[in-house]
């Protein structure tokens, strides 16, 4: 809560609330280049490295975009649920990221295809995998009652359906408020925040188990859903800060998003860096300590000394995903310097990719795939990022960049950290 000295918002049709022309011009090229890189990277991975590598790279890129989009969805939901005032000016940016769940639902098709053709998840070759790993028949029979293409696809449709439903509903209500300024819209978004978060939590927990954890079908960790969520919420805050900064650099919403908002985003980013580390450490430490083979296997494939490719990444994640940003964003001075917040956000967004790469790629069992493999992995995710940015700009060009008639806009404009 803040002191709110009455600040008169600009009129709703002020040019400061429209997508800067420079970015609009880039939208189509971004989409085209992105799509080419995404498809090219995936094919490069499949052809140059082979096996499940290409589709694993696609899944990494997909999860990268998906976790950021659903993290932004969580941001939107929680801000409504707690009736936050400070965040209104950056909420539209979050909504634009959130609404990417719709194109991402379409981009799931290749993964669905891979499930049916057996080119990504090892459990799709049920009999072969069981024989190869000497899994007892009764245990495996139970397992494939959950992990089979039909049921997997149906579940994926449910998750994506729920995300699209929540995303579209919140997006359209927020759009309508831009036109009408109805206070009741805010009230109904608040009221639906609770049930929406429950659906969100269920879908996100199961999604993490289905799409990532099941890459190693015999491995299990109750924390895994929380782990994916921790990366998701962290990277979403970074994406919101970075995108706001870029839009401001291009001349949009310059007077609206202030140092105070970056300061708060910076604090939250710092908090979620700690949260991610807490979850990652707890998961690892408990498995390391109990030392049960069924559980340690997942970490062995990523262990220094056991995996040349992924061992160093395990160490790097500890230092670079936690230690460095923990110290880097600790200072109030950094958090009150917008470009520094944007720079750290970029840094963490890169590390978020490394985190997902580390979680997904070792299960393709061909290591990093050499230079071509790394190139394919990076190309795929860059393609995905370009495509998403292009789409965000296209959608953003059709809306105002802040919720111009939100009843708490004035509070957000006048927000000060005390």
């Amino acid at each position: 809560m803040s002191h709110h000295h009455a600040v008169a918002p600009k009129p709703a049709d002020d040019p400061a609330f429209t997508m800067p022309a420079m970015l609009s011009g880039l939208s189509l090229p971004l989409c085209v280049v992105g799509l080419i890189a995404l498809v090219g990277g995936t094919f490069l991975g499949s052809s140059a490295v082979g096996g499940r590598f290409g589709m694993s790279a696609y899944l990494t890129a997909y999860m990268y975009a998906m976790t950021i989009a659903i993290g932004a969805m969580f941001f939107v939901l929680i801000q409504h649920l707690v009736r936050a005032g400070w965040s209104v000016v950056v909420r539209r940016v979050a909504e634009l990221i959130m609404i990417m769940v719709v194109p991402l639902a379409v981009l799931f098709i290749p993964i669905g295809w891979a499930v049916w053709t057996g080119s990504l998840y090892v459990w799709t070759d049920a009999a072969g995998y069981q024989a190869e790993h000497h899994i007892p028949a009764d245990a495996w029979a139970e397992k494939i009652r959950w992990l089979n293409p039909q049921w997997f696809t149906l579940r994926a449709c449910v998750y994506l359906g729920v995300y699209c439903l929540i995303g579209c509903w919140y997006y359209s209500k927020s759009q309508r408020q831009d036109q009408t300024g109805e206070v009741t819209l805010t009230e109904s978004m608040q009221a639906r925040g609770g049930p929406a978060i429950i659906l969100f939590a269920l879908c996100t927990s199961l999604l993490a188990a289905d799409w990532v954890m099941s890459l190693a079908p015999m491995w299990f960790s109750t924390m895994f859903g929380v782990y994916i969520f921790a990366g998701s919420i962290l990277s979403a805050h970074c994406a919101i800060a970075l995108l706001s900064f870029v839009l401001q650099k291009q001349g949009a919403m310059r007077d609206e998003v202030t140092i105070e908002h970056y300061h708060d985003l910076g604090k939250l980013i710092h908090g979620f860096v700690c949260f991610w580390a807490y979850i990652a450490f707890s998961q690892y430490m408990l498995i390391w300590y109990a030392n049960i083979p069924e559980e340690t296997v997942w970490f062995f494939t990523r262990y220094p000394g056991f995996s040349e490719d992924f061992g160093p990444i395990s160490i790097a994640l500890m230092v670079l995903h936690f230690g460095v940003p923990f110290l880097g964003i600790m200072s109030r001075h950094v958090r009150r310097t917008p470009w520094a917040v944007a720079a750290w956000a970029t840094y963490i967004l890169v590390l978020h990719f490394v985190d997902l790469y580390w979680a997904i790629m070792p299960e393709a069992t061909v290591g990093s795939g050499g230079a071509m493999g790394v190139l394919a992995s990076v190309l795929t995710v860059l393609g995905m990022v370009c495509l998403m940015l292009g789409l965000i700009v296209i959608v953003g060009a059709r809306t105002r960049l802040i919720p111009v008639r939100d009843p708490r806009l004035a509070e957000s404009l006048a927000f000060e950290n005390i």
Partner: protein
């Protein structure tokens, strides 16, 4: 709805764009001081005396049980092979969990600038400390030879020529809980200094004046004092915030680092923390609902404060529910026989009743808070908070006892039954808790007057602005 309305204003309704006040009833600085100080200055009510006598008797019973335990040995408890961790550990975890609300309110809500914390933080912090006292008792007396409990301290023992096992989470617990107790105590006391000075200045009795004078550390209310106070408070809040997570995380490690089915599950740390906050807030409600009525401080601890706490209870209750579900799902998904058995055994084995008490109280009962009527009606939230307290005790019982009573080797299975000493100590620990709490209510400022006045000042400032400027 009448209960939610105080002086014609329902502060649980907040139109978007306006903020509802947190201090009601045309309060002034003076009326806040009066309503808080008179609780300590007036002679105790009959109800207070009666409650205090009951609590002291129960606390004495705890003390006598401890003496009996020391004299006889830990065999007086129901702890038998294979359940060597019986009720003492259940009670320890239960009380430590209760102790989480205070620091959450005073540190995390402070860092989030949640001003509604101001009138409830003092009581919650006090409750935290008393809960930690109750919690600390149980492992202390569970070590067998309690006079050697200091062996837990990390020093190279001259008797044994060895250090404690630093790789044991039980030792981490000693650090975690003692750090938590120290920081919570400091936080509580430091926050109280300005109010203790108010008590000192109002004291007519020279003895009282001298005691509060010493406790107030020469506070004069000068701006230099305030500046340092604010800085120290923010620093302590920043130090205390990780403690909210770390203490129950380490308590969860006590279980989760083991290989016992039902204990070793990676979601334990955040799940325990959510459960601790859940039970802590339930206890705050249990104490606040009667206290605000008895001491007539409803204008300071308003329905809005209670409603917010109900929302936190609902949220954390759902998080705990999600963790229960995740554990069950993964136990099946893992296809590890022992894991799956441990969870089926919880729900359908000999302790099925404890499991279903836990589910009903923790997962089902908080859902009444979806209804505003329940969140704004003190007696309903009081009843639910009691359910949550019961449910969270049973959660620890279910985790501890069902897993130990039936683990890998069926020939070693046995049913755990508590003895009368177990019962007496559990009840006695409530006696200790309420004795301390009732003493606190009589002797200390139970609402943070200084911060509540600051909140009031801000609200008056805002109201003034709203009169002159365009309402937003």
């Amino acid at each position: 709805m009448s209960l939610a309305v105080s002086n014609g204003l329902d502060n649980t309704v907040e139109r978007p764009g306006q903020r509802a006040p947190l201090v009601l009833g045309n309060s002034t600085f003076h009326s806040i001081t009066e309503s808080v100080c008179r609780i300590s200055e007036n002679p105790p009510s009959k109800l207070w005396v009666f409650s205090f006598l009951v609590s002291v008797h129960l606390a004495t019973m705890l003390g006598l049980c401890i003496l009996y335990l020391f004299y006889t040995g830990v065999g007086v408890w129901g702890n038998r092979s294979p359940v060597f961790w019986g009720w003492p550990i259940v009670n320890f975890v239960f009380w430590v969990g209760i102790g989480h609300a205070g620091t959450l309110i005073s540190a995390i809500l402070y860092l989030f600038r949640q001003e509604w914390r101001t009138s409830i933080n003092r009581t919650a912090e006090a409750m935290t400390i008393f809960a930690v006292v109750c919690a600390g008792t149980f492992p202390g007396i569970h070590v067998g030879r309690a006079w050697l409990a200091f062996w837990l301290a990390p020093y190279p023992s001259l008797n044994l020529w060895m250090w404690p096992q630093f790789r044991s989470p039980l030792l981490w617990d000693v650090f975690a809980v003692s750090t938590y107790a120290t920081v919570s105590l400091l936080f509580w006391y430091m926050g109280m200094v300005p109010d203790l000075a108010t008590f000192r200045d109002r004291s007519k009795n020279p003895f009282r004046r001298a005691v509060y004078g010493v406790l107030a550390l020469g506070w004069s209310g000068s701006s230099r004092h305030w500046m340092r106070y604010e800085k120290a408070y923010a620093l302590l809040a920043a130090f205390a915030a990780p403690l909210v997570l770390s203490v129950h995380t380490i308590v969860s490690f006590d279980f989760a680092v083991s290989q016992v089915p039902g204990w070793h599950t990676t979601i334990f740390p955040p799940y325990f923390v959510a459960g601790a906050i859940f039970s802590g807030f339930a206890m705050v409600i249990t104490l606040m609902v009667p206290a605000r009525k008895i001491f007539s401080i409803e204008k300071l601890i308003t329905i809005r404060h209670l409603e917010n706490m109900c929302k936190i209870i609902l949220t954390t209750g759902l998080m705990v529910g999600l963790a229960y579900g995740t554990e069950f799902f993964v136990a099946w998904y893992s296809q590890v026989g022992e894991e799956a058995f441990a969870f089926v055994n919880r729900a359908m084995g000999p302790y099925w009743w404890a499991y279903w008490i836990m589910i009903s109280c923790n997962v089902i009962s908080p859902n009444v808070f979806w209804f505003k009527k329940a969140r704004t009606t003190p007696w309903i939230m009081f009843v639910v908070s009691i359910f949550v307290n019961i449910g969270m005790w049973f959660e620890r019982f279910v985790i501890t006892c069902t897993s130990l009573s039936r683990d890998y080797l069926p020939s070693a299975w046995a049913y755990f039954s508590p003895t009368w000493v177990d019962w007496a100590m559990l009840i006695g620990s409530f006696g200790l808790f309420f004795t301390l709490f009732l003493l606190f209510c009589r002797l200390m400022p139970i609402v943070n007057m200084a911060e509540t006045k600051a909140t009031l000042a801000k609200e008056m400032h805002m109201a003034h602005q709203d009169d002159t400027a365009t309402p937003i």
